[in-house]
């Protein structure tokens, strides 16, 4: 028996001449666990999933699923995995049941065994009343649940979920989280999940890797990563735009404050004891002539982990990507 379900070594992918979508990433996923790939738009999450699911070929590096190399043993890999792509891939002109049936047939299932499997999936994804309805009339949440059900028809040992909850409203999202946790816990399915949502990775993943611009910038358990950030996260909203150097100079003398990063008009800093450092931070800013409008103190979140390793917030990274795409 293999302990490692997914093994990725030095994977790189270049699209055409210009775009380096992946720039040498490596990680391992233990059998029966949920692994999270966390990163902003354009980080390379979908590219990783496409290579691991045999859809796309890497420029260099190797990857294997349950010991099968994705290039050399693509056929075995395909039989082993289930894939939920980033956007819904159900056939909208067909019913839920027809979608599930075709999916099963492609995995060589048939007859009563297949129909029974379809019934039980419709049931567990709360679609039993809608099995014979055309997918076009489904809500976003229903369509997403159907897409996940389709990926599970053949009981895959390894499941890939590319942003399974993007675009879902909070209630549907938490239902999806329950489904995913249950899959890993009850069926022993190994799950690789990509997400933008820090709370999602925090909630579901045993281990996670933070991806930024095709590289893994941090890896570990959610708690471990948060623990690396000693102390609390402090955010100060400034009254006006300032330079990073000005802020650093102003706070140089304040004890116990580190990792000062200025993000537009928000100052991020780390303090061993947040509540206690706030007065001295404010005083130091004040004497440097910098006005502070708002202050928040929080326990470190994965967002802070991302900030520390990628040098920018997820939000900023996304904005930059959007601008690049627009340009």
């Amino acid at each position: 028996m293999t302990e490692v379900a997914i093994e990725v070594k030095d994977l790189s992918k270049k699209y055409g001449e210009g775009v380096q979508a992946l720039d040498g990433i490596s990680f391992e996923v233990e059998t029966g666990t949920v692994f999270g790939l966390l990163g902003p738009n354009g980080a390379g999450k979908s590219t990783t999933v496409k290579i691991l699911t045999t859809l796309s070929h890497p420029t260099s590096g190797t990857a294997s699923i349950m010991g099968y190399d994705v290039l050399e043993h693509a056929a075995e890999v395909r039989r082993t995995i289930g894939v939920v792509a980033q956007s819904s891939t159900a056939d909208r002109e067909a019913t839920a049941r027809e979608n599930l049936r075709l999916q099963g047939q492609l995995y060589r299932m048939k007859g009563r065994e297949l129909e029974k499997r379809i019934d039980s999936l419709l049931d567990s994804f709360k679609l039993s009343g809608d099995g014979d309805r055309i997918v076009r009339g489904f809500s976003g949440g229903m369509e997403r649940r159907l897409t996940v059900a389709m990926a599970l028809v053949h009981n895959p040992r390894v499941l890939f979920l590319d942003e399974p909850t993007t675009g879902l409203d909070p209630e549907v999202r938490s239902e999806m989280w329950e489904e995913i946790s249950a899959l890993a816990a009850d069926e022993g399915t190994t799950i690789l999940l990509t997400t933008h949502y820090l709370e999602e990775a925090d909630m579901l993943a045993r281990n996670l890797a933070i991806v930024d611009q095709g590289r893994i910038v941090a890896e570990g358990t959610p708690d471990g990563l948060k623990k690396e950030l000693k102390g609390d996260a402090i955010q100060v909203g400034l009254g006006e735009t300032r330079e990073q150097t000005e802020i650093e100079t102003a706070l140089r003398e304040v004890n116990g404050v580190s990792e000062v990063i200025l993000n537009e008009r928000t100052l991020h800093a780390r303090a061993e004891d947040g509540a206690r450092s706030v007065p001295s931070i404010l005083a130091a800013l004040d004497s440097a002539g910098i006005t502070a409008d708002t202050v928040t103190v929080a326990r470190p979140s994965l967002d802070d982990v991302y900030l520390k390793y990628a040098g920018r917030t997820m939000e900023q990274a996304e904005k930059k990507q959007t601008e690049e795409v627009a340009a």
């Binding site: 045999t54 891939t89 056939d91 075709l102 047939q105 492609l106």
Partner: protein, 259 residues
Amino acid sequence: MNLFADTWHMAQRHIRALIRQPWWIAVTLVQPIIWLVLFGGLFTSMEDTPGWPAGVTFHEFIIPGVIVMTAFFSAGWGGMGMIEDINRGIIDRFLVSPAIRSSIITGALLANFLTIAIQSLIVLGLGAIMGASYPGGPLGMLILIVISGIVGFGFGAFSYGLALIIRKEESLIAMMQFLLLPLTFLAAAFIPLTLAPDWIANVAKFNPVNWAIEAGRSALIDSSPDWNLILTRTGLLLVFGALMAAFATRAFRSYQRTV
């Protein structure tokens, strides 16, 4: 074996989607009626033109042309559905499953062939109601339908190949329009080529649509079919179909490189 099973499952998906589009069924039925009624009404006087084949009504003459053109048009637009499937990620979903890859194309082609056969039968039936007679009998009809199927296969494969390469609906529409109309008019669909200008008759020799129309017509309405013509044209059409299938396969590989 898996190839046949997968092809059939993929074809079912396309056929179901078609049957569920009421407007598609309406257009399929109305279009040949328009061809037959309108063109038939307008141009029956053609029958009196010197050089018109003796003893053949205008309806009888255009029925094989209408059938081949219906096949050729519906196959030519097949790529539109392929682009939609690519954009919706459905093709990628099939590619990460153990399904035989070529079944994505062969399934669509099979669905296409079945619709062509049904459309052909509708046109033949309509023609009979309007008084056309088919001296070629059931065998002639079968040959005509098979030939239309090969035309559909070739142009369907061509359209899927283009779709996989250009992947933009607008570009595909432009390309197909650029091709469909000339190929239709440079063929003996409505008048015998003997009545057409020489240059058209010469160009038509290289037009697969014309091969199909001439062979199908001979099989259906000649009391003694020209077997030599039927067999050579069918052979040429098969070569054309094979070339297009090779093109579609290559296009598929090039698509995969860009994913």
